[in-house]
């Protein structure tokens, strides 16, 4: 009896120990080959979908020009990324190189000392202040190299536009005319837009159309320094412009998700979809001939504003053991070689450096062309205004859903949002 029990007990006990040991080895940082002096860097990102691209194309390009340094790509899913990075760094096992979230999350990380400063290094010398703004501390010192931005625009089905004899709208009035004509035709949905996903209403509709009313950076920075309020006429007009699309939404739009919208568009059942540039591949996946136009201005002759959202930067862990190698990697990220390699492997993402980049994907090039005659501005509420509770950005998602779903007016929505912001945000601090 005993002889049979003992091995089982030992096996069980050792399995338990194995399990416990396994728990403690997650998220190792980096290692140095003691003999050669070769360095291995770890790069933490939330882009799990780009693993093959980084490992097969981008990192080999870096490693071939920088012998002795290898880079391990270590992605974490985007939903868990913030928590993973925070727990790794607090636990002393953070990666050497860390992909940076734009604005408030990153500013909190900078304040907590996660990143090494980059001021004065080659890595940031090729970017202007606006490009770096998403990854600076409160004094404006940069901590991450910008690697890609995303743009917002209105994709349209050129076949439907040709069939109905429509012209690309440049003003708000023209846009409503176009939507009206499509609706009258009865054959197509004018807009592939639903309100089930609040972020989509904010990022691709309000923050895309709105800058034409609040004058881009003027309004955005005005909210931050307290000289403007959401209840000002410019902002109310922007929310009204958002509301003006409501009659053109498909039936049952309240429960249409982001994925449903894209299906509606790619099946050729809807003429226009307001969306981000990251969906270039999805929008053309079914072989549609797709064009893109920027958010229309309020009146003919107005300055046009284009949303360009800093999406990803890469910074250096302040506690890395391989500072020199990590700095070389960051310097390389700023070169035209990386900047054009990266965005062309990743259609829908755009370089932020001062060197012009050409795009192989024709739709990506059309998107990039939207930047030429427009003033650029990032999404309204992600800088400082969402660093407290309630975060303005999240509140805007819900307010926009309520405008479409339960007839909340632009005036009431902006008043509610400003009241929520006033409970915690004190400008100039």
């Amino acid at each position: 009896m005993r002889s049979k029990l003992v091995p089982i007990a030992i096996t069980t006990a050792s399995l338990v120990m194995l399990g416990l040991a396994g728990c403690s080895t997650g998220g190792s940082s980096s290692s140095t080959d003691a003999a050669g002096g070769d360095v291995t860097l770890t790069l933490a990102t939330w882009r799990t979908e780009d693993t093959a691209m980084w490992e097969d194309e981008i990192l080999p390009a870096f490693e071939s020009s920088h012998p002795g340094i290898t880079v391990d790509y270590a992605p974490v899913g985007t939903d868990d990324y913030n928590a993973a990075i925070q727990s790794q760094i607090e636990g002393g096992t953070g990666a050497d190189l860390i992909m940076c979230r734009p604005f408030d999350v990153n500013r909190a990380w900078i304040d907590d000392g996660y990143f090494a400063p980059l001021k004065g290094t080659d890595a940031v010398s090729h970017f202007d202040e606006t490009a770096l703004a998403a990854w600076t501390d409160t004094d404006g010192n940069p901590f991450c190299v910008p690697t890609a931005s995303v743009l917002a625009g209105f994709y349209y089905n050129t076949a439907i536009f040709d069939e109905l004899g429509l012209k690309v709208p440049t003003t708000q009035a023209e846009l409503l005319d176009v939507l009206d004509t499509i609706k009258q035709s009865g054959k197509y949905e004018p807009l592939a837009l639903g309100s089930a996903d609040g972020w989509q209403l904010a990022y691709n509709v309000l923050y895309s159309m709105g800058p034409n009313y609040w004058n881009g950076e003027e309004g955005r920075l005005g909210l931050i320094d307290g000289s403007q309020k959401l209840t000002d006429p410019d902002f109310v007009a922007a929310f009204d412009a958002f509301d003006s699309l409501k009659p053109y939404l498909p039936a049952g739009y309240e429960s249409l998700t982001y994925e449903d919208m894209m299906q509606l568009f790619t099946l050729g059942k809807a003429a226009i979809i307001p969306d981000g540039s990251w969906d270039i591949s999805a929008a053309t996946a079914t072989g549609l001939d797709v064009g893109v136009f920027g958010a229309p201005v309020a009146k003919a002759g107005d300055q046009r504003y284009q949303q360009e959202m800093p999406d990803q930067g890469i910074g250096m862990n302040a506690k890395t053991e391989h500072q020199e190698a990590a700095q070389q990697f960051l310097d390389w990220l700023a070169t035209p070689e990386f900047q054009s390699l990266y965005v062309n492997k990743l259609p829908g993402f755009f370089a932020m450096g001062d060197e012009p980049v050409t795009y192989d994907d024709p739709l990506a090039q059309k998107f990039a062309d939207l930047k030429t005659d427009a003033e650029l501005t990032p999404r309204l509420a992600l800088d400082r205004l969402s660093a407290g509770t309630p975060p303005l950005d999240d509140e805007i998602w819900v307010a926009l859903q309520n405008m479409y779903n339960s007839d909340l007016s632009a005036k009431d929505a902006t008043a509610e949002l400003q009241a929520g912001l006033d409970t915690w945000y004190k400008p100039g601090q």
Partner: protein, 294 residues
């Protein structure tokens, strides 16, 4: 049985490994999480704040609004489960024991239980397509309306898990000895009155158990809501329950920095809600339930 030194040694030997795993992966993290809820950390430091996090969660303007909303929604989520799942489960169990089924009983039992074995993500996805106003069978945006969204999701979950109360009640029904039923028949009782007057009282204790299990499941609920609506479940937080509120607080959302201390506070509140109600059930309700010796 007399306990000898040897039987004690065997007891430790057999339960030891399970105890180590249970303590290591459940008890210790649970205590650590409750401890965490009494601290506030940031910039590498951690300060003891007593019940500060709880006071903040219950009273701070916008945070408490989300919390109370999630709590109310959670009770609604539980209510729909209980009110729909129990009667349907009972009906199915009663039909399964019906003598006319005989041969096909096994087939039906399996069919009705299969949804419970499916992944929540699949169930949510399939139902979302079925009720999609664009290509589904209903025109009304069930998931897009604040009043119908939560009951709709609760009913999807009921559809998935109704097999579980069914199996509980079914096993209780088939455990009733035939001689009791034969006695009822001899006394002139028909099928209807036999069911309600003989079988039903005998399986009544099962209802309490199912109710408390449903309570625990729904207050630990998270997966189906997260799968359908993400971590800030709309419209207008009408499908937000404590599980999703916890996730959003602990892990952060798109633009929100994660707050593990407040997240641990939400988790502890959920833990105490479950602990108190479960304890009440076991010490007060279950003792009063009549268990018939069969």
């Amino acid at each position: 049985m007399k306990r000898t030194a040897r039987s004690y040694r065997n007891l430790i030997l057999f339960s030891g490994p399970a105890l180590v795993v249970y303590a290591g992966f459940l008890v210790i993290p649970l205590i650590a999480s409750v401890v965490l809820s009494f601290f506030q950390s940031g910039k590498g430091t951690s300060t003891f704040v007593g019940f500060g996090n709880y006071v903040y969660l219950f009273t701070n303007g916008s945070t408490s609004e989300r919390f109370w909303n999630a709590l109310v929604n959670n009770f609604e989520f539980f209510g729909v489960h209980l009110l729909v799942e129990l009667p349907i489960g009972l009906l199915m169990a009663a039909l399964l024991t019906s003598s006319t089924l005989r041969r096909s009983r096994g087939v039906y039992r399996t069919l009705l239980f299969i949804p419970a074995t499916l992944s929540v993500v699949i169930v949510g996805f399939v139902w979302r397509l079925i009720i999609n106003p664009l290509w589904g069978i209903v025109d009304f945006p069930l998931l897009g309306d604040e009043n119908t969204a939560l009951p709709t999701i609760a009913l999807m979950s009921v559809w998935e898990y109704v097999g579980i109360p069914m199996i509980f009640l079914y096993t209780a029904l088939i455990a009733i000895p035939d001689d009791i039923l034969e006695a009822a028949k001899l006394d002139g009782s028909n099928a209807w009155s036999t069911f309600w007057r003989v079988k039903f009282p005998l399986i009544a204790p099962q209802f309490g158990l199912i109710a408390i299990l449903t309570y625990i499941w729904t207050f630990n609920g998270f997966d189906i809501i997260y799968a359908l609506n993400g971590s800030a479940p709309g419209p207008d937080y009408s499908t937000d329950i404590l599980g999703t509120l916890f996730y959003r607080t602990f892990f952060g959302s798109s633009g929100q920095v994660a707050d593990p201390d407040l997240g641990a506070t939400v988790a502890s509140v959920v833990f105490f809600l479950i602990l108190i109600i479960t304890a009440l059930y076991f010490f007060v309700v279950q003792r009063r339930l009549k268990n018939y010796e069969l």
